[in-house]
Symmetry: C2
């Protein structure tokens, strides 16, 4: 194999594929990065037990300055190879593999590196997934869907199924829901152009989705999603992102969301976030990290308070946009509240309570159908 | 005590003083930050075993919006107090201490924090240092002097004296020198306006100097340095920075610097740094982190090479500006070389060798009198 390429572009692509590569893997060849060149493209692959990322660098794109002199493939130690390319002196880099011993010479300007490669035949094959039935998602909306649900994913391996986000496609609507059993976050997207009969039910690890999200740029690319029995493939531009699926049945979350309430308040989201952050400075120091909300609709008073026996206490009067229903005193983990409120962006947020021991819901007033969050309060008496 | 103040300005000053405060101290009151207000100023103090920082906020500066209603003092838990002030909702903050129980109320907008304070009488006194004999240094030059010498300070506590920088004032010249016994860095500054008879000899911990350096802004303030028996005080604008001195005799370093050489090369500093960085990518993987320089003046060839048995090797031809003297092959730790070269900024650097086993020197061609660095090679045969 021999090719030359734009060093800056190669660095960018190596960084991208390296996200799938862990130096802690038990399979030595997976610490490597696979390169495969033919006359029209260079394909980079990185993989670990959970995800694989494949990136195509096309020779037809002049910016890549890709010239393949001799097709072929090799696996190079990912961390060194990336480190070397990043530090090379010139804009163009030439890479040549000795097919007999797989020694690879990397040249740029007066610098010449020789590193030991591995046989690409020994690199694991990526799963084969039929992409004919892919569903197409708008990049920015799907990215938002991910960020709004992964916050509620469990990070405890005791119930592995809760470390994933549950995706259900039905009646031309994609729903994603996650819960760690203390809080829940659910987002829906309408997909009018999808066949109503098409349905999926899959659980994708939250950590895979967080990585995938970094790959979706802000300029609203299309994300194509294809599913096989135990893998999902997302195609974003020149990248293919594979993730394993979690096996098992996700708990039925639909019955957790209350449909009635006895007290409701509406807040400016930025204002509420500030107050919660202030209250949590002290609650973080206390053994049971909770803050208390005191709601008095008759006097239009809402107070938030936090307290640490060692350090001191804080109290703040909030300024709700709207307030209705019964008096209530309720305590909760401010960190769950912070995550939940941040997921709304800039908007007016409606919080609905039923009692100080029952979960309460948060939803955006401008689109109350498609996004809802749920937080379980903490009993303090 | 009761005062109100500009929250943004207070946050800035708290961050500054907090640099001297460690949460790991064994003296509980030192985890606190002392506040002392009188009609004209608020003084903040932070301290640990090595350094103390005092910052004055003057009421005459309108930007501070400082109004002292009632003079007094208190010690507040540094981390919380700083965290609280940073998160407060409005531009103005009011702080009021209950003199009976030292409970301190911090108010801004609708938020009200109550935290437990400590008695300022129990806070250690700062050393008293006579500032009448202070010497004045130009901020930017002194900052450069610090950055050029602290790189050679030892980080091993086995010879504590080498963890400091040795400052000697003599004949209206200030010299700073540091060595960890593998490398040495020496910088001189002429101080023509100083009395020739004045002399100092002191050793300041490298870590104190690094902290001090962050406090000297780029806009070339004057730094006033005063010395007592075991403390040094630097006054920079509204800040007083105290550091303990290291006790003992610093080794005589003057005889370490060779005054002859048999091979000399001149490099563009940026080019040399790039080549060293590339060579070190592989040397870092080898047990004895060394790179080799091969100098052949007759053919005007200089080569740098690095090698790791596991990963591979690198070789690069360098393009010296000038080359003189005998052939030489010399090996050294590339990290020492990187630190040394970075200390020069953008310039042409002259390296002088005597043999492959003797220390070599680096100096800037445009000012060869005032700055010199020394690196001990590594024996590889």
């Amino acid at each position: 194999m021999k090719f030359s390429i734009n060093r800056v572009e190669l660095t960018k692509r190596l960084n991208l594929v390296s996200r799938a590569i862990s130096s802690k893997t038990t399979i030595p060849i997976l610490t490597g990065l696979k390169l495969k060149a033919n006359s029209s493209e260079l394909v980079l692959t990185g993989s670990n037990a959970d995800i694989s990322i494949e990136n195509k660098i096309l020779s037809e794109d002049n910016n890549n300055m890709l010239t393949v002199v001799e097709p072929g493939s090799v696996v190079l130690p990912a961390r060194f190879f990336t480190g070397i390319v990043k530090k090379l002196p010139e804009d163009l880099v030439t890479i040549e593999v000795n097919e007999d011993n797989l020694q690879t010479v990397i040249k740029s300007g007066a610098a010449s590196f020789t590193i030991n490669g591995l046989n690409a035949e020994d690199y694991p094959h990526l799963p084969e997934i039929d992409t004919n039935n892919a569903i197409e998602l708008k990049g920015d909306i799907f990215k938002e869907m991910i960020s709004q649900t992964v916050i509620a994913v469990s990070n405890q391996e005791s119930r592995p199924i809760l470390t994933g986000v549950h995706f259900v496609l039905n009646n031309a609507e994609l729903m994603a829901v996650a819960t760690d059993s203390h809080r829940l976050s659910q987002r829906k997207i309408k997909l009018p152009e999808i066949d109503e009969g098409k349905s999926y039910d899959l659980i994708i690890p939250g950590s895979s989705l967080s990585e995938l999200s970094k790959m979706i740029s802000e300029n609203n690319e299309t994300v194509k999603m294809s599913v096989s029995e135990n893998q999902v493939l997302f195609i974003v531009g020149q990248n293919s992102f594979y993730s394993r699926l979690l096996e098992g049945n996700y708990p039925d979350t639909s019955r957790l969301i209350p449909d009635t309430s006895t007290t409701t308040i509406e807040f400016d989201n930025v204002e509420l976030l500030g107050a919660i952050e202030r209250a949590s400075i002290l609650s973080h120091e206390s053994r049971n990290n909770v803050v208390k909300l005191t709601i008095n609709p008759a006097d239009e008073i809402v107070k938030i308070s936090g307290n640490s026996p060692d350090v001191g206490n804080v109290e703040e009067k909030l300024d709700p946009k709207k307030i209705d229903g019964n008096e209530l005193e309720i305590s909760f983990n401010p960190d769950y509240m912070k995550d939940a409120v941040r997921a709304f962006g800039k908007s007016i947020i409606k919080i609905s309570f039923t009692s100080s021991l029952r979960p309460f819901t948060l939803l955006p007033t401008e689109d109350s159908e498609n996004f809802i969050e749920l937080i379980t309060p903490v009993r303090t008496f």
